[in-house]
C-alpha cells in the first residue's frame, strides 16, 4: 500500500456569513489550501475529491460534491459527498487517504462544507438533532444537548466529575479560540461565566454547547512519493481508524464510554505503531464540553473516569504535556458540521509544521498529532494520526 502525505490545507473563516453559500465558502477554503502549497499547486494534478457535508444548507442534498468542485474548476474528476453526521469531514479525510493508499489516485482533495445559518432557528432544530436514533431519542423530547447531558449526568454520578470540570473545557477552548483569527468566537470567557450560563439541558448550559456555524475546509492528500514536489515539509498520515456504535445511547452497554472512539482510536494507534503516550497534541470533538472529557478517556490520554482531574491539572492547555483543541475546538472555533473533520486536519497540518497564524497558539516542537471526529452522540467516529 502507498504511504500518504498531506501537502496543503486551507480553511474559510468560521462564523455567520449572509453573503456566502456552500460554493463560495468551499471556494474560500480551496483557495486557501492552494496558497498553502509551498512549491505551488497546478490544480490539474487533483484527480479525486471527497466532501463532508450533512445538509447543504437544506437546499442541495443531491450531487453537492460535484457542485462545489466544479465551482472550483475541478470539473470531471471523481467526486463524492460523504455523510456521517458531524463526522462527515473526518470520514472524507479517511476516504481520501484510502483512495491514495490503494493507488487509485495520487493527489486527492478531502474537504467539507456546511451552511447552517441560512435556516431559521425553528427549522435548524428540525434539521439538526436528527443524527441520533430519532424514532426514540427525539420522540422522548431531546436534541443533542439533551443526549450529551444524559452522558454528563451519568459521568458525574459514576466518577464524581464536577460542574467546574465541564466549564474548564469551555474556558480553555475559548482562550485558544481567542487567538485563532479564523474562529467563530474570538473571545475569552471566565470560569464563573461558564458555570453560570443559562441552562439548556441540565447539567449542560449554553457555554457547554457549540453553536451553529458556516464554514469550509480543504486538505490536499497525496502519495508520499510525490510529496516533495509540493513541499519540503509534508505531514504524513501514519494511521487512521473508524468505528460505529448503536445510535441510541440507551442501546449501549456503557453510557459513559464512546465505544466508537475507543475502537477508532485503538485502530489508528495500531496502524501508526504508536500509543496514546506518543500523541503530543490533539484536536478532539468537543461539540459539548462533556464530549471533550470523554475523548480524553476513550482515546487513552487518561484513565477512565479521570478526565475531570486531568483537565483541572492543566495537561490539555497549550503549554501542558498534551494540548487539546489549540484551535479553540468546536466550542470556540465553530462547528460547521461537514467541515469539522477536515478543519481539524487543517489545524494539525499547521501545528505540526509550525505555521499556525498566531504564534501564541502554536504548540512548539510537536511532531505527532491526532484528530478525532464524532458523528451524532458517537454513532460514527473517525480518528487520524499524523506526524511531520
Amino acid at each position: 500500500m502507498k504511504k500518504v502525505a498531506i501537502v496543503g490545507a486551507g480553511q474559510s473563516r468560521y462564523g455567520d456569513f449572509p453573503d456566502k453559500g456552500i460554493k463560495e465558502l468551499f471556494f474560500e477554503a480551496y483557495k486557501d489550501m492552494n496558497a498553502s502549497v509551498d512549491k505551488g499547486l497546478d490544480p490539474k494534478v487533483i484527480e479525486s475529491a471527497y466532501i463532508g457535508n450533512l445538509g447543504s444548507g437544506g437546499f442541495q442534498l443531491g450531487n453537492m460534491s460535484a457542485l462545489v468542485t466544479e465551482y472550483c474548476g475541478l470539473t470531471h474528476i471523481n467526486t463524492m459527498r460523504i455523510e456521517n453526521a458531524c463526522a462527515s469531514g473526518g470520514y472524507a479525510l479517511v476516504a481520501a487517504v484510502m483512495d491514495v493508499m490503494s493507488g487509485t489516485h495520487k493527489a486527492v482533495l478531502a474537504g467539507g462544507v456546511e451552511k447552517m445559518t441560512d435556516v431559521s432557528g425553528i427549522k435548524q432544530k428540525y434539521w439538526l438533532g436528527v443524527s441520533g436514533d430519532t424514532e426514540y431519542e427525539r420522540l422522548a423530547g431531546t436534541t443533542f444537548s439533551g443526549l450529551y447531558a444524559l452522558i454528563a449526568q451519568r459521568h458525574m454520578y459514576e466518577f464524581g466529575t464536577k460542574r467546574e470540570h465541564l466549564s474548564m473545557v469551555a474556558v480553555k477552548n475559548h482562550k485558544n479560540g481567542a487567538q485563532n483569527p479564523k474562529a467563530q468566537f474570538q473571545r475569552e470567557i471566565t470560569l464563573e461565566q461558564a458555570i453560570k450560563g443559562p441552562i439548556v439541558a441540565s447539567p449542560l448550559n449554553l457555554f457547554d454547547c457549540c453553536s451553529t456555524t458556516d464554514g469550509a475546509s480543504a486538505v490536499l492528500v497525496c502519495d508520499a512519493e510525490m510529496a516533495k514536489q509540493f513541499t519540503d515539509t509534508p505531514v504524513y498520515v501514519t494511521g487512521f481508524g473508524t468505528a460505529s456504535d448503536f445510535l441510541a445511547i440507551h442501546d449501549r452497554a456503557n453510557t459513559t464510554t464512546l465505544e466508537g472512539t475507543r475502537r477508532a482510536g485503538a485502530m489508528a494507534y495500531k496502524m501508526s505503531g504508536l500509543t496514546p503516550k506518543d500523541i503530543q497534541l490533539a484536536e478532539v470533538h468537543d461539540c459539548f464540553t462533556i464530549a471533550e472529557l470523554l475523548a480524553y478517556e476513550d482515546l487513552g490520554f487518561c484513565e477512565k473516569g479521570n478526565a475531570g482531574p486531568f483537565i483541572e491539572e492543566g495537561h490539555t492547555q497549550i503549554g501542558g504535556d498534551k494540548p487539546v483543541n489549540a484551535s479553540g475546538g468546536l466550542k470556540s472555533k465553530g462547528h460547521p458540521i461537514g467541515s469539522t473533520g477536515t478543519g481539524m486536519a487543517y489545524e494539525m497540518f499547521n501545528q505540526l509544521r509550525g505555521t499556525v497564524q498566531k504564534p501564541t497558539r502554536q504548540v512548539k516542537g510537536a511532531e505527532i498529532g491526532l484528530i478525532h471526529n464524532v458523528g451524532g452522540s458517537g454513532g460514527t467516529v473517525a480518528v487520524t494520526v499524523m506526524r511531520r
Binding site: 425553528i122 427549522k123 432544530k125 428540525y126 434539521w127 438533532g129 436528527v130 430519532t134 424514532e135 426514540y136 431519542e137 427525539r138 420522540l139 422522548a140 423530547g141 431531546t142 436534541t143 444537548s145 439533551g146 447531558a149 444524559l150 452522558i151 449526568q153 451519568r154 454520578y157 443559562p198 441552562i199 439548556v200 439541558a201 441540565s202 447539567p203 449542560l204 449554553l206 448503536f246 441510541a248 445511547i249 440507551h250 442501546d251 453510557t255
Partner: protein
C-alpha cells in the same frame, strides 16, 4: 426534518403502546426496542415476544430547558418549564429513553424507581401521538 410521520409512528405501535420486547431464543436476553439481530449475542434473529413490565429505575436523566427542547416539544417546555427525560434501566434488562411525568424535576434522581404509563407525547400533523412516559413508583 426530524419528523416522524403517522405511518412511521403506526409501525412502532407495539413498542409505543404496549412495550413489547424480543426475547432472544439463543442467548435469552431481551431486546427493546426491537432489532433485526439480537444486540447482545449479535448472532440470532429468532425471538419470542415478551410483554415488558415497564418497571425500572433511572439510569441517568436530563432536565430539558428552552433551547434544549425540539420544536415539537417547545410548547410543553413553555407550559411547564423544564421537563425531565431519563434513560431507564428496565427490570427485564434493556435500557430505554422516555420522559418522566408527574414529578417535580428537582426530585428526579439516579436509581429512582419508575414505571411506564401510556400518555400523550405530542401532536404533529394534527394527530395526537400516544406512547409511554415514566412516572415515579
Amino acid at each position: 426534518m426530524a419528523h416522524v410521520s403517522v405511518p412511521m409512528y403506526w409501525r412502532t405501535i407495539p413498542q409505543r403502546y404496549k412495550m413489547i420486547g424480543q426475547k432472544c431464543k439463543k442467548c435469552g436476553a431481551v431486546n427493546f426496542p426491537p432489532k433485526g439481530v439480537c444486540k447482545y449475542c449479535q448472532t440470532s434473529s429468532e425471538f419470542e415476544e415478551v410483554q415488558l413490565s415497564g418497571r425500572g429505575k433511572v439510569h441517568t436523566f436530563v432536565l430539558i430547558s428552552a433551547g434544549g427542547a425540539p420544536p415539537e416539544f417547545a410548547e410543553q417546555e413553555k407550559a411547564g418549564g423544564q421537563y425531565p427525560v431519563a434513560i431507564v434501566q428496565l427490570e427485564e434488562g434493556p435500557k430505554m429513553i422516555g420522559q418522566i411525568a408527574d414529578v417535580d424535576p428537582k426530585e428526579v434522581k439516579i436509581d429512582m424507581p419508575v414505571k411506564a404509563e401510556l400518555r400523550k407525547i405530542y401532536t404533529e400533523e394534527e394527530v395526537i401521538r400516544y406512547g409511554f412516559k415514566f412516572v415515579p413508583g
